[in-house]
């Protein structure tokens, strides 16, 4: 039966080349967009090294000082983190680091612009970078403000050519740093680990950041287990609420939360709602569904025209003993085959697009990958597509009275 349907499907699709091309292209294009979007989201928020603990991590990315008519928004400052984020109960690793900043160095008189993060020693325990040479700097290096640096592979190549990086020096911010480690490139969109150069926090020339409530620092907290996350959020909120900022002119209260990376990412879309991560996910799913509705409708239309012109076939098959459901099955199978072919094309195209994005440098150090999860979802979407777009015309056609069908379709 399947063999029979397969043969006839191939024949039908080849006979109507234009229709087939439009359908294939519609499905493929939709899939490409979905797969690329999914790859981007996964690339940004998925659990990939160096963020090996992302399932049980929280971050502190924002803080606000508020007064009657003034608000100062930013990241948490050193004072806030030292006061409220140290030794939270249930936290296994607590790291404070600065948001990356663009700084300039020179190689043979040529300007090289680099993204620099200042971190503590815990940073390297909370995130597992792949070291190509040497190793991380330590808490002791940070405490002593040793002029040491970890650079990524791209920076090593830019500054030192093909040679080794460890032991070489680079000048940043008026100081000379010695490279102690080289790590594999981390994608730009991985906001927490990303940088070109990592320096000990205390090598910063000014300690203004350390004294501020609101500044440009970040905290990364790895909990002992997922179950500890709510307690950590709660305790941090409690401590922040208890901070006395009455010494600050114009401000009377401080606001800051520990949040997941997805929640941070969702902030732009869903504001500060406590359900912002779920809202963002729902939004993306709704977007994907709407996005798929158009080509699905188009497919329904095309399938309808393809099936309607075959009313004589419906009549004949009914006359020779096909039940209604047999016909529905046949037409739906046809459409699923078409959609799967479109899906296969879409996956090939997606792989091409992803590798093109990776190579284009559009997103620095991007490693967008066609992962299995995205692939399976794509495949599922394709099948749903096929069934949905085939079912409607199939149901309509199969309802035809056999005599009407033989005489050329519905009246």
């Amino acid at each position: 039966m399947l063999g029979h349907t397969l043969k006839s499907t191939v024949r039908v699709l080849l006979r109507r080349k234009f229709f087939t091309a439009v359908s294939l292209f519609g499905v493929a294009l939709t899939l490409v967009v979905l797969v690329v979007a999914a790859a981007l989201l996964d690339h940004t928020f998925g659990p990939h090294p160096p963020e090996v603990y992302s399932g049980r991590s929280l971050g502190i990315f924002r803080a606000s000082l508020k007064g009657k008519s003034w608000t100062r928004n930013g990241g948490p400052g050193g004072r806030l983190l030292e006061t409220c984020a140290r030794a939270l109960p249930g936290a296994e690793i607590t790291s404070f680091y600065s948001a990356q900043d663009q700084e300039v160095t020179y190689r043979d008189g040529e300007r090289v612009s680099l993204w620099v993060k200042r971190t503590d020693g815990a940073f390297w325990r909370a995130l597992h970078f792949r070291f190509l040479e040497g190793g991380p700097f330590t808490d002791a290096d940070d405490a002593a403000a040793n002029a040491v640096a970890v650079v990524n592979d791209a920076t090593r190549r830019k500054l030192f050519g093909d040679g080794r990086g460890v032991g070489k020096t680079l000048r940043l911010d008026g100081r000379t740093f010695t490279v102690v480690g080289v790590v594999a490139d981390v994608p730009f969109l991985r906001a927490v680990p990303f940088a070109d150069v990592w320096l000990p926090a205390r090598t910063a020339r000014s300690d203004a950041e350390a004294r501020a409530w609101v500044g440009e620092l970040r905290a990364l907290i790895v909990a002992r287990s997922r179950a500890d996350l709510p307690g950590i959020r709660e305790e941090y909120r409690r401590r922040v609420a208890a901070v006395d900022v009455s010494a600050e002119p114009r401000f009377d209260r401080l606001e800051s939360e520990a949040e997941s990376f997805l929640e941070m990412g969702a902030r732009g879309m869903a504001g500060t709602s406590p359900h912002r991560a779920a809202l963002a996910v729902a939004f993306f799913i709704a977007l994907a569904v709407c996005f798929m509705a158009l080509p699905a409708l188009n497919l329904v239309n095309l399938a309808l025209s393809r099936i309607l012109e075959r009313s004589s076939e419906v009549g004949v098959r009914k006359a020779f003993g096909a039940t209604r459901w047999r016909l529905v099955l046949q037409f739906v199978t046809e459409n699923v085959i078409l959609s799967l072919a479109g899906g296969a094309l879409g996956i090939v195209l997606s792989a091409g697009v992803l590798s093109a994005v990776n190579q284009s440098g559009l997103i620095p150090y991007a490693q967008l990958a066609l992962n299995v999860r995205v692939l399976l979802w794509g495949l599922l979407a394709t099948c749903v597509f096929g069934v949905l777009s085939g079912a409607l015309p199939a149901l309509r056609m199969s309802r035809l009275h056999p005599v009407e069908a033989l005489q050329g379709g519905p009246r």
């Binding site: 003993g321 047999r326 033989l406």
Partner: protein, 221 residues
């Protein structure tokens, strides 16, 4: 074999009521070859459709092989059509996207016959109608007469007891038409198929056992 009792068929569209068949009672015996004649619009096709369970009568009853058709549910009808009936149409109605062999296999598909067996029986049916050499062709590559032979092969592949043919030679030139009629006649005598055929051709009707004449939905004699 086929018994119609007081069959009436009325088509209702918006305001018009067409009485296509009125009070038709008819018996076709096993092994009989019956022709149906009548002017256009006299209800010949409708009569054949009612006999073939493609259409339900408005009133009256249909009995096939001694079993009265009580319910006109899709699945039950499909089964009876598949097992007991074979249709031949004026415009052949071959599926253009299937090869000759696959077209002939269609009825067997709906009774769950395995692929090898289907092939074997479809080839035998095509041999019976003298078309063994064309099994890989597609309908559009065949002449009208050849297409109608394929249609007949399809109608007999499931070895039904009853063949219903609605102007099977209506689209063929007279020589080819005679060949097709001879084929039907041969099936009737050799395989003891009961055949009911609609025709416009007195010459062909004369070759059948008996002719039923319809006028305005009523049999006249």
């Amino acid at each position: 074999m086929i018994r119609l009792e007081n069959v009436e068929k009325v088509y209702r569209t918006d305001r018009i009521e067409t009485i296509a068949l009125s009070n038709v009672s008819l018996d076709v015996a096993e092994g009989e070859f019956v022709s149906i004649m009548g002017p256009s619009g006299s209800g010949k096709s409708t009569l054949l459709h009612v006999m073939g369970l493609l259409d339900a009568p408005t009133k009256g009853s249909v009995t096939l092989n001694g079993r009265k058709v009580e319910s006109y549910f899709d699945a039950a009808l499909a089964k009876v059509r598949n097992a007991e009936l074979g249709f031949v149409f004026q415009t052949f109605h071959l599926v253009p996207d299937l090869s000759v062999l696959d077209n002939v296999e269609v009825p067997l598909l709906y009774r769950g016959t395995g692929g090898k067996e289907r092939r074997k029986r479809a080839e035998a049916a095509l041999e019976r109608v003298g078309l063994s050499a064309r099994t890989r062709h597609y309908p559009s590559q065949l002449s009208g007469g050849q297409q109608q032979r394929v249609a007949i092969a399809r109608a007999i592949v499931g070895a039904p007891r009853i063949l219903l043919a609605d102007e099977p030679t209506g689209n063929l030139d007279s020589a080819t038409g005679d060949d097709v009629l001879d084929l039907l006649k041969d099936l009737n005598t050799r395989e003891r198929c009961t055949v009911v055929m609609v025709t416009h051709d007195e010459r062909q009707a004369a070759k059948t056992h008996r002719t039923v004449r319809l006028f305005d939905g009523r049999p006249v004699s």
